[in-house]
């Protein structure tokens, strides 16, 4: 796919998302002008860009949808429930059309039928001429640009036009979609003789008379992608001032226009007008230009599309700078150079700011993406005849865009499961004394360096015994096991375990939850389930907030340095004689009246004994679990650039990566969730035997 086509696909995606969000928000909160505007703009932009690529099916469809939306915007048609539903379908259909067009495939019978059907519905919703007549009064006529008008478009290609890669003939063809080209006059006067021509430069121009109900901006948009490569004037054919100015600007143009049948041109004076007049029109022109430009600026500052690999590259470079700066800091310490040390500190503060800034570029509010779930929930609920009250909490929480995209599918799957299996039918709910409407919520919030996404429902809960029975049949667990309820629930993440009696097209095919878990783990996240019979289920997903650099805490155990992610550290305490006595050979201490399991890093990773006088405990927390890590030395905070380790380290549980210290030494980064899991499993297995 070439670059332009890729941009087009991205743009369409974005526009259709806008459209969907606007429709859904109107479904919930009623019609508002802003959302209608967004709808119109989405269809309009898709029509415009699709036209550039000659995707006629897309243009044809978008055109009808846009027409109707334009009437909605102008208050000629009322946007009702039924119409919103139609537009939702239109949105999906537009996506299909675009996909097909991009792949260069023709519409198959099914899509064609859908196309015809939707077009017929959309057209039937258009106000008929009678209604129109009733509404049009003088004021409306003045206000809106409705009604067909003849436009005069004067176009000159700038010499470098061909470098834009756009074909002017395609652009001209676009006029035929938007209206009717009455006159197309090719201006060839500027083409040099064969001996003098530079074949790669453009010399040609056009004068066009164009009959259409399109507004100025719509016509201007035809040239959206070549704005900098053409000289363009668009004015109503009846605007004699503009026509006069145009004829004055080029010798012989008036005669050519008259000859070609641009009737109004015969009514303007031929070239050689009074200076004064000329000045006046020029002033007018510049005014118009500045106005146009100002409008464009505001549009531009709205958002900027950047290839994400560029940001990744920046992050990589910052990472290298952080390492380089760590070296400087270290050197300053060795040299005992206060000034250098101060400079290095300032530099590292600034680096930190830049790093946060760059990270922020990638962050998006999850709400924008999660809103589409509302529709999926509605659709699924309808399909299975259930009533669902769906709620999104914490949509303003920010998460890396890539993570948001990748988590979307797993979430969708889990939501479907909740509705299909979790929530009971209205009758069942009434029978057990619940409100007939099921409640499903999607909640997002930041917690200790991670982002937590919770999906909860108030349905029947997971069938504990059924899961266990199935797991035993499948040989996943043994018959005489000692599993806790929570462990049993988490068995549904094992491959090939579905307890649904009925296989619906929504869920229950036994694939899915294991894929969900894998997807989440690929993002370095974790997922957990809790459930209570007849009260509902709660799925908790934890995702790391960070990408390539984390705030770490540098420690030493034996002869190796390690990094613990700072956000997970709760406190550090000294393992003094009092605690040691208390431990008495066990791996627990009593920390302010609660039991804290300890993990001896030295023995866990086979480190050698050290001469260190003191031993320390770093208390780390992940979710609701706490573990104390027994280490030797504490060095303090360290900006850590995560470097992946080779395959050799794949099987080392509890190490997620490495980093390079200022001294050139390598430090290993602890994977705290995995370590905690390991520790808890160890405790449980001891408890069992």
């Amino acid at each position: 796919m070439n670059e332009e086509l890729e941009l087009f696909v991205e743009d369409v995606d974005e526009q259709l998302t806008f459209m969907e969000n606007a429709l859904i928000s109107m479904q919930e909160d009623g019609v508002d002008d802003e959302s209608v505007g967004a709808l119109f703009r989405a269809m309009h932009t898709i029509k415009g860009t699709a036209g550039m690529f000659g995707f006629d099916d897309v243009v044809g469809f978008a055109h009808v949808a846009e027409n109707l939306l334009s009437d909605v915007r102008d208050g000629k048609v009322e946007l009702n429930e039924e119409m919103i539903e139609t537009f939702l379908q239109s949105k999906d259909h537009a996506q299909t059309l675009v996909d097909l067009a991009v792949d260069g495939e023709a519409l198959d019978a099914q899509v064609q039928a859908k196309n015809d059907n939707l077009l017929a519905i959309l057209k039937s919703m258009l106000p008929d001429a009678k209604k129109n007549l009733l509404k049009i009064d003088a004021e409306i006529l003045q206000e809106q640009e409705g009604g067909e008008k003849t436009w005069h478009i004067s176009l000159r290609l700038k010499p470098h036009f061909f470098a834009s890669g756009m074909d002017i003939i395609n652009i001209l063809n676009f006029f035929n979609i938007l209206g009717e080209v009455k006159k197309l006059l090719c201006i060839d006067t500027n083409i040099p003789a064969l001996k003098d021509i530079n074949p790669t430069e453009a010399y040609i121009g056009y004068e066009i008379l164009f009959l259409s109900d399109a507004a100025y901006a719509e016509i201007e948009e035809i040239f959206e992608f070549v704005m900098d490569d053409v000289v363009l004037e668009i004015f109503e054919a009846t605007d004699m001032d503009m026509l006069q100015a145009l004829c004055d600007s080029e010798e012989g143009l008036r005669e050519e226009l008259v000859f070609a049948g641009f009737d109004n041109a015969s009514r303007v004076r031929s070239a050689g007008v009074k200076e004064k007049e000329l000045e006046k029109t020029e002033v007018k022109e510049t005014k118009k230009e500045t106005k146009k430009e100002a409008k464009k600026e505001t549009k531009k500052s709205f958002s900027l599309r950047v290839d994400s690999s560029k940001i990744d590259q920046l992050i990589n470079q910052i990472s290298e700078m952080v390492i380089a700066n760590a070296k400087v800091t270290q050197r300053a310490d060795v040299l005992d150079d206060n000034e250098l040390s101060e400079s290095a500190t300032i530099l590292s503060d600034m680096l930190e700011e830049i790093r946060t800034g760059i990270m922020n570029i990638r962050m998006v509010q999850v709400g924008d993406s999660f809103n589409k779930f509302k529709r999926i929930v509605n659709d699924v609920a309808k399909k299975v005849d259930k009533e669902i009250d769906f709620e999104i909490v914490g949509g303003e929480t920010e998460l890396d865009k890539m993570v948001v995209e990748k988590i979307s599918d797993p979430l969708m799957h889990m939501l479907r499961n909740s509705i299909d299996h979790g929530i009971e039918t209205p009758q069942e709910r009434k029978a057990v004394g619940k409100s007939p409407k099921g409640h499903v919520s999607l909640k997002t919030y930041p917690d200790a360096g991670t982002i937590v996404i919770e999906i909860s429902d108030d349905g029947r809960g997971l069938p504990r015994d059924k899961i266990l029975a199935k797991a035993i049949t499948n040989g996943l667990v043994e018959e005489n096991n000692n599993l806790s309820d929570k462990e049993i629930y988490n068995l549904i993440f094992a491959a090939g375990l579905s307890t649904a009696e009925k296989v619906s097209d929504i869920s229950g095919r036994g694939v899915g939850m294991d894929v969900v878990k894998r997807n989440i783990e690929a993002l370095r996240g974790t997922v957990e389930i809790d459930s209570k019979p007849n009260e509902g289920s709660l799925f908790t997903i934890r995702l790391p907030l960070t990408l390539a650099i984390i705030d770490g805490f540098l420690i030493q155990s034996g002869n190796t340095k390690y990094i613990i992610p700072l956000e997970m550290i709760q406190e550090c305490i000294e393992l003094d004689a009092h605690y040691k006595k208390e431990m008495d050979g066990n791996e627990f201490i009593n920390l302010r009246d609660s039991m804290l399991p300890l993990l001896d890093v030295r023995s866990y990773l086979d480190e050698q004994e050290t001469q260190s006088q003191r031993e320390n405990i770093v208390v780390v927390r992940y979710g609701e679990y706490k573990v104390g890590m027994m280490v030797d030395e504490l060095f303090g905070e360290f900006q850590t650039v995560i470097k992946p380790l080779g395959e050799v380290f794949n099987n080392v549980v509890g190490i997620s990566g490495g980093t390079i210290l200022g001294s050139g030494e390598v430090a290993l980064i602890f994977d705290i969730p995995k370590l905690i899991e390991h520790k808890l499993r160890e405790i449980n297995s001891h408890g069992g035997t």
Binding site: C186, I191, L194, P199
Partner: protein, 88 residues
């Protein structure tokens, strides 16, 4: 001269220009476009320039074998009449 390409656009226009110029220097210009199915504005513009130059130096300019595809492009570009490429 006969164009043996299926498509002639800005990417090939410089080579085409050389050929056209050579043809022009020799005398009348006759371009056989029967193999051609697609052209773009850069080529049309060059043809217009050639036609103009021929007229100025009283040489003949003609295009032979314009097929329906190319005629359609001429029409869309608004240069049909200028090129003297009327419907055959």
């Amino acid at each position: 001269m006969k164009i043996d390409k299926d498509e002639l656009t800005i990417y090939e226009v410089e080579a085409f220009y050389e050929e056209l110029l050579a043809e022009f220097d020799k005398g009348d210009v006759s371009v056989d476009v029967s193999n051609l199915n697609r052209i773009d504005m850069s080529v049309i513009q060059l043809l217009l320039s050639a036609k103009k130059s021929c007229e100025e130096s009283s040489k003949a300019f003609q295009m032979i074998g314009t097929n329906s595809e190319v005629r359609k492009i001429f029409k869309e570009s608004g240069c049909q009449a200028l090129l003297g490429a009327s419907d055959e």
